[in-house]
Structure formats: C-alpha cells, structure tokens
Amino acid sequence: MGGARVLAMLGTLAVALLAAPVVYLVVRALGADPLASLPLVLRPRTGALLLTSLGLALLVALAVGALGTLQALLLARLRLPAPRVLLALAALPLAMPSYVAAFGWLGLVPSMQGFWAAWLQLTIVSTPYVTLPVYAALRSAPAGLEIAARSLGRGPIAALRQVTWPIVRPAATAGALLAGLYALADFGVVSLMRVETLSTGIARAMGAGFDRSYAALLGLVLVAAAIALVLLEQRVRRAVPAARVRSAAPLRLGAGRWAPLAIATVLITPLVAIGVPVATLVARALHAQAVRSIEWAELLQTAGTSVSLALVAGILAILLAAPISLLAARHPSPVSRTLEGAATIAHALPGIVVGLSLVFLSLALVPWAYQTIGVLIAAYALLATPRAVGGVRAAIERVPVRYEQLARSLGRRPARAFSSTTGRIAIGGVGVAALLAAVAALKELPATLLLRPTGVDTLATALWARTDVSEYGAAAPFALVLVACAAVPAMLVLATAVERDQDIDLTDRSAAP
C-alpha cells in the first residue's frame, strides 16, 4: 500500500511537470486582462488559420478512415501472397517523418504545393493508424458471428456490414481521429507545402514580428482544438469492445483476378510515403555534384547531436512515465486513471505549442536557461513522455502479477520480488518504449526550431535550413540519415510484432510521426 502511495506522489509530480508549460501558456495568453486580448483572437486571420487547420484535420481523418478501412479489409479477408510482408509494408509509413516524405516529393514535383498537396501527404503517412487497429479488430472478431448472419440469409457483404462493421467501427473512428490530431499538430508538411495553419501562424508570429502575445493566443486555440480531438478519440476508443475469448479467425476469401488490384491498394501508401521520397532523395544525393558537396563532418556531428539528445530524452521520458505506468498497471484506482488520462491528454500537445510554452516558461522562471540544451531536452521529454506511458504500462501488464506474488511467497521482499520477476521480464518492453520515445524526439522539428541553442543543429533543423530547392542536393543526405535513424527501431518493433503475429498495438501511440 505504501508503494502505491509513493507511486501516486511521483506520478502526480510527473503530470505536474508535463502540464506546467501549457498551464503557463494559458495564464500568459489570457494575461492580466482577458478582455483586452479578445480583439486579437477575433482577428479574421485567426479564423482563417483555425478553419484551415480544422478543415485539414477533418479531411485527413475522413480519407484515412476510408483508405485504412479498405486496406484492413483487403489484408484481413483476402487470401493474398505473403500476407505478413504486406501487413508490415502497410505499417511502414509510420516510420517515416511526414515532413521528410513531403520534402522528398518536392524534389520530384516542385510544384506540389497547397492545401490538397498537404492533405495528400498527411493522409498517406497516417493511413496505418486506421489500417492496423481495424485489421486487428477484423482478425479477432469471432468468425461465428458472420457465419450465423450468413445462415440467417445475409450475403457476404451484408453480413460484414451488419455484424462485423459495428464491432470494427470504434477502432476505425479512433484511428481516424488520431490521424486528424496529427494533421492538426503538423508543422513540417504544411510549411513545406506553403499552407497557412495555426502551427505555421505560431512560427511566423514568433519569427518575423516576434509578436509573442499573438503566438500565445494561437497556441491556446491550437491546444483547445487538439485536446477536444483527443477527448473525442478517447470517448470513441472506450466503445471498443473489450478483448474477448479468442475464437477461430475468420476465413479468407480467394482474391482471384482482383489480387493485383488489392495488393496495389495496400502498397500505395508505403510507395507514396516512403518509396518515392526515399528514391528521390537517394537519386539527388548521389548526383555527382551533390556527392562531392556532402558536408560529412557536419552530417556526422548533427547525427551525433540528434541521437544523443534523443537518447537522453528517451530515458527521461521513461523515468517520468514509470510511476504513472506502474500505478496504472499494478494499482488501478481513480487516482491512477486520472494520472494516466492526464498524460494521454498531454499527448495532444503539438510540438510547436510545447516549444512555445517552454520559451515563455524558461524566460519567466530561468531566463539564463533560455536557449540552452537543458530546455530543449525538457521539451523532448515532455513530448516523449505521453508516448512512453502506454508502452511501459503494456510491458508491465504483460507480466502476470502472480509472478510477484509467488516470488513473495518464496521469500522475496516486495521490491526484490518486483525486480527479480516483473522487472526482469518487462525490461525488454520498457527498452522498446524508450527507443520509440527517443525516435519521437529525434524526429521533432518545430519545438527544436524554437528552442535550440545557437549553433546546435539536429538532423531535422539541418534539413530545415536547406529546404530551398537550390540546396536540395545538400539537404538530401540529412534527410536520408534522419529516415534511417527513425526507421530502424520502428521497423524492429513492427517486425517482431508481425513475426509473433501479434496485433500491433497502437493504443500506446508510441509510433506517432
């Protein structure tokens, strides 16, 4: 019992740390006189930015919902060659930083600009958020239901629609809302495609005019929209039926002459999200002039900076997440649920908002720390922690609590019982969670742009500094190293999941772009 209380205190502290910058942002934005800021908010420009952001999020969610569900249906119900490879390929876009994909496409089609281009890019990289959970739901839906419906006179499509779809729908909706959330939070793709949204508006206000009050207000609007989306997503997800006893998986139908079309539908997303951009980047990097001009020293140095910052952030994220996850996994209570819920909502915070909040908070509290590596690491840890909570919790939950109880009946004190059983067994899963949290930090762009100390470059900012078309060849190597760093751990995780034929669990959301 004492252990649970200590965990609850540590967890509360962690959540307070996570929430502090945004709470300060709210205080700061509303300022001493909320009424005075009203005209600022009501500027037509604010409305236009909000409309673009929300429209983009909504259209991405709809498209991802439709394409992802279609892919999942084809993967789950048709007999296609190499089904596991296809599934892994369908998951692949998760490993691609969305702005790198967009950057790659710009190298091929420089005129790819505007709202619909951004919509297409964001849709393609987010499709797995629906494909994977819907695939899992379809494979685990009891086969008996559809057979019963068929025996009651429904055709195959009608049975699918009337019996299976209601079971699968919450997974599809939650995944689509998650994709919408990432579209809302996106900074890189919309900047590259020259679409003005709330996040680019914030960056602009912080950059050119250094209009901090307006930036804070835009940040507030963005946070409100993101939290609304994440709350909606949680509500929908709760409706997902609890895991039931596994019954026989539904049969797969022969695809016949439709097989090539089905495979093409599945492969379109990895091809567009990874195949084309990576091929373009490789081609550009290998271009004779470009090869000579590769800044090897700088490339190595930024890669080193990125990887070390990311690893520190990953470890910090695990330390912050551990009490919350441990409490949720081992001592479920209203307190643990509140803490976990708060951490999950923190997941809604867009990188640009976390960056902005930390600018304000560090200037107000510790001005000497502004634009030091410490604040940048704090931002990474804040962004990575909510992603780590689910992973650490799942790793602990996978170990039956019985092992600990047994270890105690065999003479171990509680702490030793934990470390000799659960601790030992869960360490691999916690390591994976740390790796995924580190990758989230590694790919981070907007907060880094706001917070990095002068002279410090990460792969992402080095790439960003070279996004001008004339410098494309110089930027390509940074982009490729970034893809390699970001993709390797994610691929490892996906590969083991596919190999074990596990449902790839996206509820921990650690693979967020």
Partner: protein, 344 residues
C-alpha cells in the same frame, strides 16, 4: 499439532463487502485437505488470505504455532511459511526449470545445480529437465515443477489452487495421483482448493465444502456423502434423491412409501431424506416412478426418473437392468434407513 489453522476468518477484498464469513478449518501436519466450492463460493479469497495477499477482518490464521494473520497484523507473504502452486503453474519464464526451483531457497543455497534442486527434480520425476526453459514443458510437467518450486523451501503448508484445471481431462487423473504421491512422499501439509469434487475426494483426506463464503461442512468423503448436514450439501454433492418426508411415530411417511427412522434423527415433524441411488429397489407393491432416461456406466446403469410428490429427479441404480426403456413405469421402495436432513 495442526499444520494450518484457520479460525473464524472473515475476509473481503479492499473496498468491498465480506466474501468469506467466519470460516474455520484445520489441516493436521502431514495432512492433505481440500476446500471445495463452486465459483464465487469464496475459496479463492480464502486462499489469498492464507497466502498473505489479503488481510483478515476477523479471526486468525496460524501455521504451526505462528499466527500469520489477524485483523491487527498480516505477516507479508515473504515472511510466512506458506508455499503456493497457482492454477496455471506460473513458472518464471525468464528462468530455467532448476532456477525456478532454486528461487525460494535461502540465500546462499540458491544453487540451481545444488543437492536440494536435484532431489526436488527427482521427487517430481523430472531429473534431467533442470536446464530446460519452462516454455519447453508440457502442462503436467510445468505443474510438477511448480509443486517442486513450492516444496523446495519446505514450507509449513503448501496451497494448491485448482492445479489441474488447465489440463486436458485425459491428463488430470494421472497428474492427480502423481501429485498425491509427491505430497505424501515429501511429508508435506497441503491444502487443495478446487471446484471439482472428484478431484477433492480423490486427493484429500478431508474436504471442507464452502457455500457462499460460509463453511457448510468438513469431513471425509464417507462422512459427507453418507451424512450431509443439509439438503443443499446433499444436492451439491449430487448422486442422491431428496425425498420429502413426514414423521409418523418410528417411521417417515414419504411419496415412495414408509421408511424406518434412524434413532436420534432429525426431531422435526418434516424432513428431507437423502436417498442414494442404490437405496431404491424395485418392489411390486411400491410407489410408481416414471423412467425418463437411462445412463450406462460400466457394469450398472443409472435411471433418471420422476415420481409424484418428489420435486427433483429420482435417481436409481440398477445392475444390468433388463427391459427398462424410456417412459417405463416401475414400482419401487426405499431400502434401508436413509439419512435425514432438515428442510432447506
């Protein structure tokens, strides 16, 4: 001396009501007893309390002369002399078989290749399996390793939580005998918790039946079957017909004819007679029963029938019944002096 003594234990899960109400039971040193109950009867809760994972609200639990649970004090699991064999074996997956068995030995003696582990492996007849991973064991082997792990530190009592429920029916009987042999060879005091009465009566010397968190009765198989204290227990154990009876002098009047009353039987006017299937015999001048089904088992057969005035199924055992078919009507009477219990 008792190995395990539970007296007047009331137990509940934190934040909810009592699940076990003032239960008392005692397992003698070297004895193997069982707690038998349906799901929800509180048997698992009782087990958790004995293991030290739930506190007592009233009463006391002692192993040997040490009180390990009372409302004031719950000795933590690691400091009580209680071994535990869980339902699904729960072998530590990251340790080898030998390391699992060595886990509970005192520090300094935790040598997976040491004498104690070797003799435990021999006891459970898994010599040579020490370096295997738990994943490579069959269900029955895993259960035997779990028993060896629990017995290795020589606990005062070892708890067996439905140890056979995860196994195929074909393996159960063999493993049950094997575990009975191991427990007796090790001289262990054991308490088996199960919902399966066949298992309980086969393995245990004495069985305590729990009903909705209360102790219904404790006794040997003979005692419980021949002299159940309540109609509920008789019905729970099955295999008998509950016949309503009214006292008339030295006899019971029943819908199946008069029966002599045992001296000192229930003093009430009305009672239920526990009539075992072999206590019903064909009798030309008896009361008619209607046969609904015939179950064949080895050398005899069980008739499932009904009779006017008897609420439940009438069970009657016949050696190689000749010409009895469904729908047959047959006159019978009660033979001997059945046990009487108060009306439920």
């Amino acid at each position: 001396m008792s190995g395990l003594r539970v007296s007047d234990a009331t137990i509940g899960h934190p934040g909810s009501g009592d699940v076990v109400h003032e239960v008392s039971l005692e397992v003698p040193v070297g004895g193997v007893d069982a707690v038998l109950g349906a799901s929800g009867s509180g048997k698992s809760t009782l087990l958790l309390a004995i293991a030290g994972l739930l506190p007592l609200r009233t009463g006391e639990i002692a192993v040997g002369s040490d009180v390990i649970s009372s409302p004031r004090r719950t000795v933590p699991p690691e400091r009580r002399d209680v071994g535990w064999v869980p339902q699904d074996a729960s072998l530590f997956p990251h340790l080898s078989v030998a390391q699992n068995i060595a886990f509970g030995l005192p520090r300094g003696q935790r040598d997976p290749h040491g004498e104690r582990v070797r003799s435990m492996l021999e006891l459970v007849e898994l010599t040579g399996f020490g370096d295997r991973s738990p994943a490579d064991l069959s269900g029955g082997q895993a259960q035997r390793v779990a028993l060896a792990r629990a017995l290795a530190p020589a606990p005062g009592i070892v708890l067996l939580d439905e140890p056979f429920s995860a196994l195929d029916a074909s393996l159960r009987v063999g493993l049950r005998r094997e575990i009975g042999r191991i427990l007796r060879e090790a001289g262990a005091t054991a308490l088996l918790v199960t919902h399966d009465q066949e298992e309980a009566f086969a393995l245990a010397d004495r069985v305590s039946v729990l009903r909705e968190g209360r102790l219904e009765q404790t006794g040997t198989a003979e005692e419980l079957f021949a002299r159940p204290r309540s109609a509920w227990l008789a019905a729970f154990l099955g295999e008998s017909t509950l016949v309503p009876a009214t006292r008339e002098g030295d006899a019971w009047a029943t819908p199946l004819g008069p029966v002599p009353a045992a001296p000192g039987a229930v003093g009430d006017e009305r009672a239920l007679l526990i009539v075992r299937p072999e206590q019903l015999k064909p009798y030309a001048a008896g009361a008619p029963i209607t046969v609904h089904d015939v179950e064949y088992s080895g050398h005899d057969r069980l008739l499932l029938a009904s009779a006017d005035g008897v609420p439940g199924t009438v069970l009657m055992r016949m050696p190689s019944a000749v010409g009895i078919v469904r729908g047959a009507v047959m006159p019978v009477r009660i033979h001997g002096t059945p046990h009487a219990v108060p009306l439920a």
